[in-house]
Symmetry: C2
């Protein structure tokens, strides 16, 4: 890519923009706008912010992403999990509903944007990889439950708060008897309707002969229908006077562009949350972008995605919005509706801006309970018990990381949860690689293959011990290697040569190098020689640059068969000729190291 | 091992103790005692404690280790680095010289002992592996410099303090003009003498016909000679009256056995330091123990070592001592002097106890400057610039972890240094494995071998892309894999099959499994099929337990050659027949992924 379009990916699609791309982009943008309006209002409410803030976060951020993002079809804006994280972070530094609360949310978007742009420029996108899939799935599932629980107060028409399930439950339980009946009816009816649309409507439309794609788009418009009907009903029957809480007055227009004031103590308080929100938002967004790009054989540059999302958040921070990221459902709708370029996003932004300027009076009678219902129905689809079961079946350690995340999100809050998940998964990975799989191997009679003595009837030399290591050697597993070799050699005094077979050793770090030197020295002191076999090219290149071969008297053999032929020609000749050992190797005394 | 001797390893050597083992153990214990007395006094001074505390820490802890430790020849007691760490930790909770300071040091030993025993019983010894060798070397080297600097005040006869080099330097610089001349002469003379003993005496003795081992032992006794001469000189010339600071009155006897009072806030303050001291002490100690054990084909159980060192520290905590661990120099002396069993340690303990009871008046005129000189000369031998150079040459990332450790020890203190080193080395390891080595491979004409297309002239199929991955697949590198495959396939539209060749993939975690499913789905959407080849047995077993093969339409081939023969029989037949491609594979357009 030429330098300029590398930093401004929009140039690459603007240059080749064709007249017939426009109708496709326009249609997609209309559909996404219809979907995005109720979502923006609802997620702003979830974040504890006035509804118009959701609209503001759906204007300039979309333009920012269109200029700098690398996905052609990603649709950015407020999303559920990031809204919850915003609420959790901002309510720690300001009172919900206060001007400070709004200012902190705006500052959070700006900070998060700066952070994303910085790590994008520094090409540190790989940091996001530290979140494993089970941790993300557990985090999103548990967050969905906390989000749904946090919206129950709107369905019940009562006040309650708390950012963990425990706190919320306690708060709700205390007031459930004070539930407001008309609100409860509106909320429950909306939930039932939205679930029906999601589960039942699409198959019926298709049975009735409708095109599957169109049916899908209609289903996605369900929340809009609920909003229109409920707003009309509340308006017509003046239910607000009966105590049904409504959105009420929304200022018309867009806030002026302004840099958030530099408030060092506030920024310092918000920084950890900004980092977490950035990472979670990026991980969510980039996987959607990659899935969509792959379908059209396009590709995504993760570091450019960081810059794109960063630009979107900076745009949000200077235009009165709050943290945004790429949304899964809306991006799929955008893609399926035929969007070809990010111009669709710019068009969506324009329509949302028009909405904010002209249409907000229409939302006056919109009941909060309907917004809460759309949130509940949207997030509960994120709870994936099947994924938990699959993770449990596949890997207990992955499940442990997931369980720690879920448990902490539910009991201690979203931030504690995601951090715990990250620490547990890193710790378990280190633990796993710190106990590498090793096998004592012998020759398969009549071949030049070497296999685990515990699994196969192979020929083993009485004087040469060969250990195959199935892991790269690094600081966390060198002591394990020392122990294993030490135990084997201590148990078999007749051993004169130890061969370390390294076909799966992808690197040897400085600690492991010292360990190997130490092992060689110790073996030498006990009258035994250390050899290596089947070392990979790049690993060997490094070893040659080190004083390793000054310590090691033994040789490096290209193949394990070469090693055996040199160190125990007699046994090897027998094995080559296909003679099996008299006593099977597995019957001999051997310590437990040969796992 | 039978259950009882498993928890009390002393039973296994006591059972077979022979009469002629005793003279060997006794001789070794006498030599170690002579070496340990000045060290104990000096290291207690380094820890900011009264000199007798060093003696107390050299009595019961030795017995505790003899009962529970698994090394036959390790000699425990106060050591330099742990003494420095003790000073750093305890001076944060109490004023040096106060009774609280002593009480906190004793509590620290007790806590550290409890922690070591607990992780030993829980078999969590692998935690210590998170300290890489370069981090340990950097830590010890930098600590040695801080220790040496902290002793300069005793050589100069002035007051100064601080636990980082910066603080110390500032404190010393302010008072260097107030240096006390007689003290400076004693201190400098001792340093020169001790360096001379270390560097010159041994070769001269050997040239004069002395046995090398005996020469070694004599050299180790250098500090005792310095202590005796200096004490006699200060006593005879009454230099204490001139202002030379001396050890002075040391209470005769041993403190009564007593549990340290449970002081929850103090213990909570000390716990992080206790954990760090335990880990550092363990790492130091176990590597000495393993080296010595290997020389006699004995073996060490790291978890039992934790229990042994834990017992030693608990013993120190109930007998008025401070944290201890296995010392390098004294263990080597013990081994070389012929110690056969831990009884040598018990005998040493008895002799130190007798010293504490009867001989302390002899130390009255011992000048602090001589103790400081022994510390300085001992620790400066730990600064290993060669190791730094070797690490730099071998691996820049290992060097980065080492440099971070050194920098932080020197500027921010020992605890910050070791924690920074641990974080940097883990982060760099994750970074390294997050960018696995991958190669696009092709067939070596005339063979069934497959090699990197960028390094070898190989036959590549126009429709089948084979990527070999040289790393286990886990959460931190799955996105890299997705990117790499996505880029390759996007760049070569004629590709119909992608084969992932996995001979060095030792495990696939749940994140990587999902990624592979996602890659398969994306490839399918683009009209391409994902296949696997050369998967290891245990990895395949796991895959079979998952719904992976519901996603993947492709096949799993036992060998890469099978895969090519099935997916592109024509090209493979040509390659088998030894026909080289018309255009060399490397000449074709290919994105940068094939590193």
């Amino acid at each position: 890519m030429p330098p300029v379009s590398r930093f401004l990916p929009c140039l690459s699609w603007l240059k080749v923009y064709r007249r017939d791309d426009f109708p496709a982009d326009l249609l997609a943008s209309i559909i996404v706008t219809i979907m995005l309006i109720p979502q923006s209002l609802a997620y702003a409410m979830l974040a504890g912010l006035p509804p118009q803030v959701g609209l503001y976060a759906s204007v300039l951020p979309l333009v920012g992403y269109a200029l700098f993002g690398s996905s052609r079809t990603l649709a950015v804006g407020p999303v559920a999990v990031v809204s919850l994280m915003t609420a959790a972070a901002v309510s720690q530094v300001a009172v919900p509903g206060s001007p400070d609360y709004l200012a902190a949310a705006v500052a959070l978007a700006f900070l998060s944007g700066l952070f994303l742009v910085l790590i994008g420029i520094a090409r540190l996108g790989f940091l996001a990889n530290l979140l494993s899939h089970p941790v993300i799935n557990g985090f999103i599932g548990a967050s969905a439950i906390v989000i749904a629980a946090s919206q129950l107060k709107h369905i019940l028409g009562i006040d309650a708060d708390g950012h963990s399930l425990l706190a919320l439950g306690r708060s709700l339980a205390g007031q459930v008897t004070a539930a407001h009946l008309p609100t409860l009816i509106i909320g429950t009816a909306s939930i039932v309707f939205l679930f029906w649309v999601r589960k039942q409507l699409k198959p019926r439309l298709i049975t009735a002969g409708m095109n599957a794609r169109l049916a899908d788009v209609l289903v996605k418009a369900g929340p809009v229908a609920a909003v229109i009907v409920a707003t009309a009903a509340v308006g017509l029957f003046a239910l607000a006077a009966d105590g049904v809480r409504i959105v009420g007055d929304i200022p018309q227009g867009l806030p002026p562009l302004t840099l958030p004031p530099v408030d060092a103590p506030l920024w310092a308080d918000l920084l950890p949350a900004a980092i977490l929100i950035s990472v979670v938002g990026f991980v969510e967004s980039v996987s959607v972008a990659q899935s969509l790009a792959a379908k059209r054989r396009q590709s995504i540059d993760p570091n450019q995605e960081l810059v794109g999302l960063g630009a979107a958040n900076i745009a949000s921070g200077v235009s009165g919005g709050y943290p945004v990221t790429g949304g899964f459902a809306r991006s799929v709708v955008n893609f399926d509706a035929g969007a070809r370029t990010p111009l669709a996003g710019v068009l969506t932004a324009g329509m949302i801006a028009l909405t904010a300027v002209f249409l907000t009076p229409l939302f006056f009678h919109l009941p909060n309970a309907v917004l809460a219902a759309t949130i509940i129905v949207a997030v509960l689809s994120l709870v994936d018990l099947g994924a938990m079961k699959r993770t449990w079946d596949y890997s207990k350690s992955d499940f442990a990381a997931m369980a720690a995340t879920i448990l902490l999100v539910l009991t201690a809050g979203v931030e504690a949860g995601i951090i715990a998940g990250m620490i547990v998964s890193i710790a378990l990975y280190l633990w796993r690689t710190s106990r590498p799989h090793m096998a004592v191997v012998g020759q398969v009679a009549g071949t030049e293959h070497f296999r685990n003595v515990d699994r196969h009837a192979v020929v083993e030399s009485p004087t040469v011990l060969t250990i195959r290591v199935d892991e790269s050697l690094y600081f966390a597993n060198t002591r394990y290697l020392e122990d294993a070799i030490g135990r084997q050699v201590a148990a078999r005094p007749e051993i004169r040569h130890v061969v370390l077979m390294c076909p799966a050793v992808n690197f040897i770090d400085a600690s492991a190098l010292e360990s190997l030197e130490m092992i060689a020295d110790r073996l030498k002191a006990a009258g035994t020689t250390l050899h290596l076999s089947e070392i990979k090219g790049p690993v060997m290149d490094r070893l040659k640059r080190s004083p390793f071969f000054d310590h090691v008297d033994g040789e490096v053999f290209l193949t394990q068969h070469d090693a055996m032929a040199a160190l125990d020609p007699e046994t090897t000749a027998q094995a080559d000729a296909g003679q099996r050992p008299k006593t099977p190797a597995a019957a001999r005394a051997r310590p437990e190291a040969a796992e």
